[in-house]
């Protein structure tokens, strides 16, 4: 394990790293200019960013504390329903909807945390999956509130009111809103990972037993990481509801949870940019494959299998490994 290198994302690598990061941000800022020329469309980039937010949130648990959460779609979905319900029943306000979704999903995460924390490893994975399914069935069955199987419809992106101006949220403007929030999330994650708290997360992953001997409340550490991570994933869910104009039960399903995990693995779980890279690959591949072949499920499944067998360190881990040798 070369954990010590990645645990300090900023320290060692220096200016080359800064340059890459700057390049990524410039490319992201200019997406509406170059993506259509390549045959893409803005909403595709928005979706990739939303998945990148969700997976980055998940990766705090998965990659840094090593907790195998396989039920994060639940918080994504709760974020979506929270945003939608807020727009329908409370107030037609974009910031409020995003906040409502984020808080709803995050609170659910805080509540589930202590129950899931009692077990580790595979057991933890199964419990997180099962709790995810619980929220799924609540959404499906609570017809009156959630629209049941049909999903929650009847809301749309309302204009953003800033200083008396109503800004209409077309695809491009919404992309920039999502990009801004993505930047905030990445910044927050950066700060957390550099802080003593972030170091303790990695310590949990690397040697739980030793930490226990040292008197660290390991469960509490994982709980904190889990809670933060669900807030971030729920934010992504809220944004997704605003992107598509509704929330539906499949936003909470375990298939989506699996996709989030594979996004992290694909890009590189031990890397700060890994989930972002994984999300781009996954979303573009899914978008393309499901258009050209009816058997797209096989190809997506194949991505899972190949990623596990040949790129367990993820694409970024692979590249870094090559660069080092």
């Amino acid at each position: 394990m070369s954990a010590s290198i990645e645990t300090k994302p900023a320290a060692a690598q220096g200016s080359a790293r800064m340059l890459v990061a700057a390049g990524i941000w410039v490319l992201l800022l200019l997406v509406p200019l170059w993506l259509p020329a390549l045959g893409g469309y803005t909403d595709l980039a928005t979706r990739a960013l939303i998945y990148a937010i969700a997976a980055s949130g998940l990766n705090l648990v998965l990659g840094y504390t090593g907790g195998l959460s396989f039920g994060h779609a639940a918080y994504f979905g709760l974020g979506a329903y929270g945003a939608g319900l807020c727009l329908i029943y409370i107030a037609p306000s974009l910031p409020l909807a995003i906040l409502a979704g984020t808080v709803l999903g995050g609170i659910a995460g805080i509540l589930v945390g202590p129950m899931a924390m009692k077990r580790k490893g595979i057991y933890f994975a199964m419990i997180t999956i099962a709790f995810g399914q619980m929220f799924y069935f609540i959404a499906v069955r609570w017809n009156a509130l959630t629209g049941g199987e049909d999903g929650l419809t009847g809301f749309s992106r309302v204009p953003l009111h800033l200083g008396g101006h109503a800004i209409h949220m077309g695809p491009v403007r919404f992309y920039y809103l999502v990009l801004a929030l993505f930047a905030v999330v990445m910044l927050v994650l950066w700060q957390i990972l550099r802080s003593p708290l972030g170091h303790s997360f990695v310590a949990v992953r690397e040697n739980t037993t030793r930490l226990r001997f040292l008197g660290v409340a390991v469960d509490k550490q994982i709980w904190v990481a889990f809670a933060i991570s669900t807030f971030i994933t729920a934010l992504a869910g809220a944004l997704n509801a605003l992107l598509t104009g509704f929330a539906s039960p499949d936003n909470l399903g375990w298939q989506l949870s699996g996709s989030f995990v594979v996004i992290c693995v694909l890009g590189g779980m031990r890397s700060y940019w890994g989930p972002f890279l994984g999300a781009i690959i996954f979303i573009v591949a899914q978008d393309y494959l499901s258009s050209v072949t009816q058997n797209w499920m096989s190809f997506i499944g194949l991505i899972f299998v190949l990623a596990v067998l040949f790129f367990p360190q993820g694409l970024l881990g692979f590249i870094k490994g090559r660069a080092r040798s």
Partner: protein
Amino acid sequence: MYSAFNGLIVGIFYALMALGLSLILGLNGVINFAHGTFMALGGYLAFTIEPYVGFWGSLILAPFGAVVLGLLVERILIRPLYGRDPLFSLLLTFGLAMIMEDLIRTIWGSVGQPFALPNYLNTPLSASLFFLTGYRLVLIAITILVTGALFAVLRYTRIGIRIRAGNADLETISAMGVNIFFLRAANFGIGIFLAGLAGILAAGQLGLSPSIGSSLIMPSFVAIIVGGVGSLIGSVLGGLIIGIASGITAAFFPVAQEVVIYVIMAVVLVLRPRGLLGQEGLFE
């Protein structure tokens, strides 16, 4: 009473699935997400060979078809992952489930298939006990038989004793010269056999469609958690408990018939985190 019995029937499927999952989880250390599609595969194979070998023939032969594929999968895909983070086998079987469901759809079509039962099984035994069809009795009998046989194998045969020993401490029995690769493969095969069997039994009761397994796999996970990881009897018990609970809830408060399964799980986790019959500290 009716509802409890119905729940019991559903619980039997959960229990059969959970038993196979639990075996594989124990010795192979793999959460087999593809268990539901192996189950569907069993049903489809039975449907395909039924015209030639009859219902009983297909009931015996089709699970072995699923086992053959299961062994190939174990050898080629899962074996390289032993000893690595469980995340990877989880993701692998997750992807495998997608591929298999897609293949089943491509081969047999997305239209459900009519899997017919012999007429004598398809009728109620008596007018007053109409919910007791011959098929349901057969279902219960087969499940008891197979579960009993499995426990007998685990208790009295050499391979069974080794599987149980491996469950407790794989490294030690490996050091003692037992071929653990063979042992794991055999264990995986038994697990898949149970899935295939459950698939055929389910196809007689439900519609046979490519996604038949997906509604059964999640409750089976819960059955394992409730029963306790590491305890095979616990898995069976867990399956029956949530099946019956769900059946009773369906009669009185149908909206909650799925959620109740997860509520039970949450209660068990709070009161007795290792599950009803689980051992402390396994797989952590």
